[in-house]
Amino acid sequence: MIDMTVKIPGLELKNPIMPASGCFGFGKEYAQLYDLSQLGAIMIKATTVETRLGNPTPRVAETSSGMLNAIGLQNPGLEKVYGSELPWLEQFDVPIIANVAGTTTEDYVEVAREISKAPNVHALEINISCPNVKKGGITFGTDPAVARELTRAVKEVSSVPVYIKLSPNVTDIVSIAKAVEEGGADGITMINTLLGMRLDPKTGRPVIANISGGLSGPAIKPVALRMVYEVSKQTNLPIIGMGGVTNVDDVIDFLSAGASAVAVGTANFVNPFVCPEIISKLPERLHELGYDSVEELIGRSHRL
C-alpha cells in the first residue's frame, strides 16, 4: 500500500491533489461529473466582502500551451459563500481551503474572520497575488513589508491556519515568502498567474477587454517549478504548489521540488476529470519510482 496522505497545518489530506482556486467555482459544476469526496481538498473561488461583478468580456484568450484570464474576482460575496456555497459543500468528505481576496487590509480581515468560522473550511488561502483587479490584490503581494503586515492582520483573526498565495510577478519571490513567514503564515500556495497579454494581429488590439491577463496552463510550469524549488529551499513553510499541472508526472515534479501538495487549475477546463485521474494514477507512479509514500518524495530534489 502506498501512503497517499499528507499532513500540513489545518489539513489532513487523503491525497495531495486539489483543484486550484478560480478553476473549480464552488464545486457544483464538477460535482455533476464525479464525487468530490475523492479530492484531497478543494480551493474555492476567491471570496470578497461584497458581490464582485468582475471584468468585461472577453475575459479569456488562448495562448501557446496556455491561456490568459482576466475574470476580475467575480464572486457572490461573503454572505452568499458563507450562507449557501460552503454549507452545500458539507455533503462531501473533503476539506475546503477558502481563497480570500480584497482591496484593503480591512476587507481581507473581515472575510478571513468570518469565512474561517465555517465548519468545513480547514485553511485559508490569502490571495495577495491577483493580477486582474485594479486596486489591492497584487499590490499586497509585491512589497515584502506590506505582505508581512497583511499576513499578521489575517493571522490575528483567522480561526484556521493561513496560507499566503504568492505572485510570480515579482523580482524576488523568496523575499516575499520570507516576509510572510515572519508575519506568521502557516504555509504558502504558489504560483498565481503570470501577467501577460495577447494582441489581435488584424487590429492590433488586445484580445482581452482588461488589456492584460494572467497566464496559466502548461506554459508556466517551468517558472512555477523553479519558484517552488527556491521558496522551499529558503523557508520552512509547507507549500501547496501549482502552475501548469496536467498529469501525474507534473505532480511528481512539484512534490520533488518541495511542495507538500499540488493544485490543478487550467487543466480542469481541458479535462474535467483530471483531478480524479491523477489521484488514481499517483500510487502506481510512486511505486514505479520506488517510493512507499507521498511524504517521502516531498523535496527530494534538495536531497540529491
Binding site: 478560480g22 478553476c23 473549480f24 467555482g25 457544483k28 459544476e29 464538477y30 455533476q32 461529473l33 473561488k45 458581490t51 461583478l53 468582475g54 468580456t57 472577453p58 475575459r59 479569456v60 484568450a61 488562448e62 495562448t63 501557446s64 500551451s65 496556455g66 491561456m67 484570464n69 475574470i71 467575480q74 496552463g217 502548461p218 496536467t246 487550467t266 480542469n268 477546463f269 481541458v270 479535462n271 474535467p272 476529470f273
Partner: protein, 255 residues
Amino acid sequence: MIKQERMKVITQQSIAKHIFELTVEGGLVDEMAEPGQFVHVRVADSFEPLLRRPISVASIDKENKRFTMIYRAEGRGTQILADKKAGDEIDVLGPLGHGFPVEQAEKKAFLIGGGIGVPPLYELAKQLNSRGIETVHILGFESKQAIFYEEKFKALGDTHIATVDGSHGTEGFVTHILNELPHDFDTYFSCGPTAMLEAVQWAYPQKKGFLSYEQRMGCGIGACFACVCRTTKSETDYIKVCSDGPVFPAGVVIS
C-alpha cells in the same frame, strides 16, 4: 447529464467554403435533449491548442447514436478538427447548456440564423416540424460559396437566403428579408452574430423570441466565469452563456 467521451468519427466533409460537416458516434448522444445545446470539443490529445472549442449540435440521430456538427475551420483548433477522418476519435464533452424551448412555439415559428449560427437551427427545425409547427427559415451568409444546408432547410419549410455580397438570394442581411415578410408567426428563434441578434430583437419587440449567444469560454460548464453577460434581470449578477444559456429569452441579455 454531461459526459466526456471519445467519440468515433463517422463522416467528415467540406460542405461549403471553409465549412465542414462532422458526424460522430457514441453513447453521449443519449443525453442530448434540446436543440441548441452545444458540445465542447478537444481537437488534440496534447495541450496545444489548449482549450476546447464550443460547437453547436446541428442534428441528432438518436437511433444510431450519432450527432452532427457543422463548423467553420478558420482558426488553429478548428483547422485541426477539419483533418479528422472517419474512424478517428475525438474527445467530446457534452451535451452542454440549455437549448431552444421547442414547446414554446404554437403554430408557426421563424428561425433566423447567420453564418455559423445556422447549424443549431437545423435540429430545431426538425423537432418543431415533428411537433406539427410550421417553420420559416431566414438564413444569412457571407456569399454564395459560404451557403450550406439550403436544400435541407427547404425540405422542412419556406427558406429565404440573404448574402452580404448579393451573390445568392437577397443582397444584404437577414433583416432585409424580415422587413419584407408578414409577421404571421407566434415565436421566433435565432442564432448568429450578436449584432444580428440585436437587430432581430428590435424587429419583433412584441413577439415571443429565443436567442442563442456566443462568448469566449474556459470550462464550458459554469465554473470559471469566463463566458458571462450582463442581464436585464439583475444589476448585481451576470448570466453564464455556457450553463445558463446559450439560449435566452429575448430581452434578457445585455450585449
